[in-house]
Symmetry: C2
Subunit: 256 residues, 2 copies
Amino acid sequence: MGQPRILVSNDDGISSRGIQFLVNIMEELGEVVVVAPDSPQSGMGHAITIGEPLRLTETDIFDGVLAYECSGTPADCVKLGKHYVLKDQPPDLVVSGVNHGSNTSISVLYSGTMSAAVEGAIEGFPSIGFSLCDFSADADFSHTGEYVYNIAKTALENNFPRGVALNVNFPHKQKEPIQGIKVCRQAHAKWQEEFNQRYDPYGRQYFWMAGNFVNFDAGEDNDEWAVANNHVSIVPCQYDMTAHKIISDIKTWSFG
Amino acid sequence: MGQPRILVSNDDGISSRGIQFLVNIMEELGEVVVVAPDSPQSGMGHAITIGEPLRLTETDIFDGVLAYECSGTPADCVKLGKHYVLKDQPPDLVVSGVNHGSNTSISVLYSGTMSAAVEGAIEGFPSIGFSLCDFSADADFSHTGEYVYNIAKTALENNFPRGVALNVNFPHKQKEPIQGIKVCRQAHAKWQEEFNQRYDPYGRQYFWMAGNFVNFDAGEDNDEWAVANNHVSIVPCQYDMTAHKIISDIKTWSFG
């Protein structure tokens, strides 16, 4: 077997520092192909582009790496990567990120980074989304490199579960080194939004969405606890959204 | 207790026939407030609007019903509905739809209709997304009315599970009447995309995403089977995406 083929995407856009960091590490592991959005797509969730054409443009932004920027969403990028760019040579691994900002707990639903990884899982490829709990454009990724490498290498070497994508979150850079890896569940938490009302120069009202993260989860076996305690969190995510335990309850309802 | 308060949204946009149909039925059950996108948002998944302002404009499109059109996504609409429009009087029920097109099986991930319902569930409200397996703008909804009414009424009258949204799909109108309701799980299926390549008048390449639905699921206890056999499917959906059964497998991996 030759080098593994690794498809890289993200949601912060192809020119973000996080994807450059990820591409550099993946080059140590195999042959890298990039398909990433041409502009930031944060908060895009699992959006896809229906009813509009998609553009795909080759770019030499990554030295010596075949790379395309795409007008679509992160999920579109993975679909185009599979069905067009790598049509005859499917990837051995799909990775997304490294995202500038946390995608723990409920944020997995809103995350473009994770939608690229979940799309990879739907297509049957081992898939991982990487995120750093630091929103800043000049975030320090240096403490995460060895973990990104080891997690991707381990994913390639093990029997990766079908229909699952790993949601990996790194704590922000601290004085102490990272304390280790926690394989865990998604924390029970939510965003408590506030809408900041303003008026534009024409007197028309508009809103900025802002909000606070509220953690309802007292457990220690979840991703919020892990990153808050300077650990790397790994949550295996599935795309079956069925609440299986609730089916029998709803069956007892007498409709109409 | 007074009339229940019902927040209505959708993803086809506020001027679609499906939301008009849903509003008319919900008016028989309670006090209706509409917050819906000002343009079609199909395929938006759980996208939210970050880094851009949102507009909210009151409209008299629904006779005698308080209604707002919003520049954002379906999830944004529910957030604005809860935190601004209904700030001091939370809804008793959130409904979304009726979508022009199926949201069974894997489509739940890409569905703006279901993202509005799931957002309602995250906020702790009983929430239901309704979809009709007919994409056409002039789809016939007439066979679904009694089911929409009964399912919403039943949801209001029962102890609705927390953190769950119901994904309700109706078969397209057939000669035979609907054969009943199936409470079931999400089918295992996917979209097999094809990218149709074309060139614009300036000689630049672009792509249309197209594809075929591929059903891998031989079971009869799933939503695809239900609608294919002229039943209404109801799948309870959760937003915990953790693949709980996989955690112990990944814990056996030796990282690095």
